[in-house]
Symmetry: C2
Subunit: 337 residues, 2 copies
Amino acid sequence: MSEGLRVAVVGATGLVGTEMLKILEERKFPIRELVPVASRADGRTVRFAGSDHEVVAISEEAFQGIDLALFSAGGGPSKTWSPVAAAAGALVIDNSSAFRRDPDVPLCVPEVNLEAARNPKKGIIANPNCSTIQMVVVLKPLHDAARIRRVVVATYQAISGAGASAVAAFREQARAFGNERPVPKGAIGDVLAGDLLMHWSRDVATGYQEEELKMVHETQKILGDDSIRVSPTAVRVPVAMSHSEAITIEFERPLTPGLAREILSQAAGIEIVDDFTRGRYPKPSDATGTDPVYVGRIREDVGNPGGIQLWCVADNIRKGAALNAIQIAEGLMPLKG
Amino acid sequence: MSEGLRVAVVGATGLVGTEMLKILEERKFPIRELVPVASRADGRTVRFAGSDHEVVAISEEAFQGIDLALFSAGGGPSKTWSPVAAAAGALVIDNSSAFRRDPDVPLCVPEVNLEAARNPKKGIIANPNCSTIQMVVVLKPLHDAARIRRVVVATYQAISGAGASAVAAFREQARAFGNERPVPKGAIGDVLAGDLLMHWSRDVATGYQEEELKMVHETQKILGDDSIRVSPTAVRVPVAMSHSEAITIEFERPLTPGLAREILSQAAGIEIVDDFTRGRYPKPSDATGTDPVYVGRIREDVGNPGGIQLWCVADNIRKGAALNAIQIAEGLMPLKG
């Protein structure tokens, strides 16, 4: 291809980086040259568009001539290298939490606030936390219709959010549990099979996990409304892929479940799976490997008439990370205009 | 023993019945004669206090001379046979949902409302739903302190709530998942390993699962306050034993997390596991096989100052079923006075 962009994928060998390569290919993203970047080069290659690409060690030179740099290598590398890539002229879309609360860095979910991502001051756009992305895709159209005052959310988050080694450890533990052998702790020092974990970083002052506070602050920033109150609980469940959320919403103006369902069925990025009388509702197993945010169990809140409760599931590695980043880039095309 | 009671355990070979036998023995419940009852006799025996007891088929005669009948054989058998046992002079403690909403049948969690269970009109006391029991043990002392107005709860319920065959199917599925083989649906027609289920009976009019509506109505009945509003979501998670709940509470008067922790640490039946800065919080794996309701993550609700969010875990077969029923009987002793 002589047309198209020079694209760097930073963290190209990780779970999200691998998915980014897959999605770029699936969606025929206009790429002239792909540069897979990782912390170390050590001779690894990644497969893209039918050929092997040698992984490049992260450095200033790696970003020379790059148009778009998709970062998913953790907060530390992002903090150091995103500004370097931006200074070299690349548009950076960063999947880490490093810049999400920076007022000069837009935090973007294309279905919700694509316009906020145009002409970013620092050349960096932040990709939100996985749990926030799927939630705000659902909240936005309801907020437009009836103004959300408060959201109570409990998450059921997949192991894959903790990376590839956690998924491998989970599989090993599941095998041990199934065979009635003692379950090994595995590489990540926690038992993931058959237990529930709250193992994200903790904010001592509030008693919240940072994962939970992200859902508070990122939701307000993306929806552009600091008056929306969020009461979150984040839990890691023994599910390999796709996050689920039990969401309870209070509105300024009452909203019926019928109208909420109608609004959500017409909203971008959402697929309704809500034939509950026949036992149909969104499940992680059905969401995995697909793009939509699935919504079901849409019902009037029995504890708050005029409010809504619902259940929302999405592939945390795709819509929760890789896909959302690429959709931002697609939405901003042409990057150089 | 020449002293003590003649006790029938109905559903003696099931998961809850087996646990009842174990707990009666552990707690040295004063038993003169144990009569294990099941729908069919077919020569089975159960082990109790060092000897084998032949299982008796359910019938009018089975209840002759019985002082205490602990029912855990499902709603159908309870509806038919609880009144028969009560008419024969037994005090019935029924673990099914058959009588829970009957205004003439007390619904009892001993830590909360033991007095309501004295001299039951019909000779029947109902044991609440597992998810409700552990929640009201936590809510009651907080309600006394600051009056609860609303509760939003999301459950993370263990497979064992669906019975012994579900646990066996879950183990088989975990083994298949661990070995990267296709996961079989198993006896109960659902994939329990690596997925999230909402497979309880559905109430078409409201869009709620009956499991969820139980948490609404039973909470109001046990706390004796119909003004408490409950917004529930019930989810079956791939955990074999012990239910967990993410609970958000709104009060009439503001309650600080410090005071809530103090109140709960002095409340009956509760153990606080809440050293979150060191990563300590209640886990299903720690609760399994033990009696307390474990509470942790006690924090001021970031979305509702003056409110509380917390996390509560208990063994669903013990405190959620067998233990609570036996504690009711213990609390009412002597049964014949």
